[in-house]
């Protein structure tokens, strides 16, 4: 109470403030006058809120986020131990049946393999291209700001719209890619129908938005970098390549780590491309785990099994998530 009265004293010193916010502020700032009943209670509540603000302020958001993310995940883990199917209203606890099933399911093996291929290749390609792109755009060339505006377009285009665009570009008969191939006399594969080219096609579409994502983060890192070590190294006669490997890259390490983890998580979660461009096919050629969960659940209606697959996906993502946790904690 001592604290409250002392702050009341300081408040009283600035009466001009009161007029601005009107009645509510006057009750908030004024001393709790005995006998004013409701108003005094209100003022007390307000002051209590003020004092607890730092504990209370994050609470509503915290509760909402927990309700929307953690509750479904916990419920999903429960469902993964049942044989729930929407067409059968009753379901039973089935123990580890789903998990035993997925261990022996060749489709799951294929999906895990595809996930690793997609995420692995995607990450490496996007990091290399992204860094290259950032280096190009970090140059103080004329008109570079125009380029810096244009290259981020892909990462703003809705995933679904980019999937539509790439489907058209990869079209065997009317797409640009095969047209360019025909101009230079290369064979024109049926990109999305062949099991050998379908995955690279989806990767290409993902790289299109993934590389600029890496680039924008790396570019920010490059522009914030201290120039002195580079200048010093140059005076000492270091080559561009030496400067890049010995100074630029090490300085960018935290930024690169962030970009990599972000991309890895998003590669694991890519779904629009698979749904629109390949539908997971041909056969299982582009069925990654994320898409397989979706299919199992919404197309085949096996919710229990789908939930078990989702748990497998989360387990697979624990490595990138743990990496992310370390980074986030360090930066916080």
């Amino acid at each position: 109470m001592a604290r409250a009265s002392s702050s009341d004293a300081t408040r009283a010193a600035t009466p001009a403030d009161r007029g601005v916010t009107g009645q509510a502020a006057a009750t908030l700032d004024g001393r709790p006058v005995p006998g004013r009943g409701g108003v005094a209670v209100l003022a007390r509540i307000r002051r209590w809120l003020d004092r607890r603000f730092f504990v209370l302020a994050p609470l509503p958001g915290f509760v909402l986020v927990a309700a929307v993310t953690l509750v479904p995940i916990v419920l999903g883990i429960y469902l993964s131990f049942t044989n729930y199917q929407p067409i059968h209203p009753t379901y039973q606890w089935s123990g580890l049946v789903n998990y035993r099933g997925l261990v022996h399911d060749p489709q799951v093996h294929q999906a895990v393999k595809n996930t690793v291929i997609f995420a692995g290749f995607g990450l490496v390609i996007e990091m290399i291209l992204g860094v290259g792109l950032a280096l190009l755009l970090a140059r103080p060339a004329r008109g570079i700001s125009v380029f810096r505006t244009l290259y981020v377009l892909p990462l703003m285009v809705a995933g679904i719209a980019s999937a539509v665009a790439w489907r058209a570009l990869l079209n065997t008969s009317s797409g640009w890619i095969n047209y360019l191939f025909s101009v230079v006399g290369l064979p024109q594969p049926n990109w999305l129908a062949s099991p050998h080219t379908a995955m690279p096609s989806v990767l290409l579409a993902d790289v299109w938005s993934g590389a600029p994502t890496v680039a924008i983060i790396v570019l920010a890192g490059l522009l914030a970098m201290h120039k002195d070590p580079v200048e010093a190294a140059r005076v000492d006669g270091a080559t561009d390549w030496q400067i890049f490997l010995r100074i630029t890259l090490p300085a960018l390490r935290p930024v690169l780590a962030f970009a990599a983890v972000f991309r890895l998580v998003d590669l694991f979660r890519q779904i629009a491309l698979f749904q629109v461009v390949t539908g997971g096919g041909p056969g299982l050629a582009t069925t990654v785990l994320n898409f397989f969960v979706y299919q199992t659940t919404f197309v085949f209606g096996e919710l229990g099994y789908g939930a078990a697959l989702a748990v497998l996906l989360i387990v697979m993502m624990i490595i990138p998530l743990a990496l992310f946790a370390r980074l986030a904690r360090r930066s916080a």
Binding site: F54, P140, A220
Partner: protein, 287 residues
């Protein structure tokens, strides 16, 4: 020019190297720009022009596709109801996010409570979980609450999804506010609501705007939750697009026109927020 950052590619490069790098930049940026351009162009074609055996730049432009996307034609639905849902969901969820995130970010950055690192980390880690793992339970919960296919459901979900990004982003802006300014506001004896309204919000309004734009972009583009949890009454623009995807060729121009319209608001928002985009993408980690 000295003020500009110098990097590897910069140095006193030979004119030829400089020219080659310039050309390379052009080519690379065009490659990244091209799919968007092509999509917009295809939207201006007739369906026959869009499905020629070789791609054409020269064609007779028509607004027929945009018109049929807008009005709906030949048994096809029009876009406006979907647009309306998208606008409602995006705007309301973005406002809710700011309302919840600003006090949270303020509290977490100015006077962190115990375990605040864990709170912050909790916020951010939820953003990393695979949505597909939560979709089944979300579907069941929504069905029991009679919220399936309802804009309210998407509003709640998008608010929760964008909240972590907003908290982290706003926190990164708030950390840049000099401590003396906030101290002065507090010593002044202003109540917390007033501190926020009179001191903090004016200072970080550019950051607030950027945060709003980022939330807008993410909510507008969200596809997976919308497609699985809504069909008609709460269906957003991406669902309109998905509806035309199954058939191979016939709707290519129509689809491109619709996709172009779908991208337009976000491209504008992204253009307006481009300086702060990186902060949104990295959730405040990179400035």
């Amino acid at each position: 020019m000295k003020q500009q950052t110098r990097t590897l590619a910069d140095r006193q490069a030979k004119p030829l190297t400089k020219l080659l790098l310039g050309v390379l930049t052009w080519i690379v940026v065009l490659i990244f720009f091209f799919p968007v351009l092509w999509m917009a162009l295809t939207g201006l074609k007739s369906e026959t022009d869009a499905n020629t055996s070789t791609p054409h730049f020269i064609f007779k432009p028509t607004f027929a596709q945009y018109a049929s996307v807008w009005k709906g034609a030949g048994g096809l639905n029009g876009l406006p109801p979907y647009l309306e849902h998208s606008v409602i969901v995006t705007v309301v969820s973005t406002l809710l996010v700011l309302l919840l995130a600003l006090p949270a970010a303020y509290a977490l950055s100015i006077r962190p409570v115990r375990k605040w690192r864990d709170v912050l980390f909790f916020f951010i880690s939820t953003k990393m979980l695979p949505v597909v793992g939560a979709i089944i339970p979300l579907y069941l919960i929504a069905r029991n609450l009679h919220l399936l296919d309802h804009v309210l459901l998407l509003i709640i979900l998008y608010t929760a999804i964008n909240l972590p990004i907003a908290v982290w982003m706003l926190r990164s802006f708030l950390l840049e506010v000099p401590a003396e300014v906030i101290e002065a506001a507090r010593v002044d004896g202003a109540g917390l609501v007033r501190q926020l309204r009179r001191v903090i919000i004016p200072i970080i309004s550019p950051g607030l705007a950027a945060t709003a734009l980022i939330c807008f972009i993410f909510a507008w583009n969200e596809f997976f939750l919308a497609v699985n949890l809504t069909t008609v009454n709460g269906a957003t623009v991406p669902i309109y697009l998905v509806g035309f995807v199954q058939p191979e060729g016939p709707f290519l121009a129509h689809l491109s026109a619709a996709a172009t319209i779908a991208c337009l608001p976000v491209l504008l928002a992204g253009w307006a927020a481009q300086d702060k985009l990186v902060r949104g993408l990295s959730m405040g980690a990179v400035k």
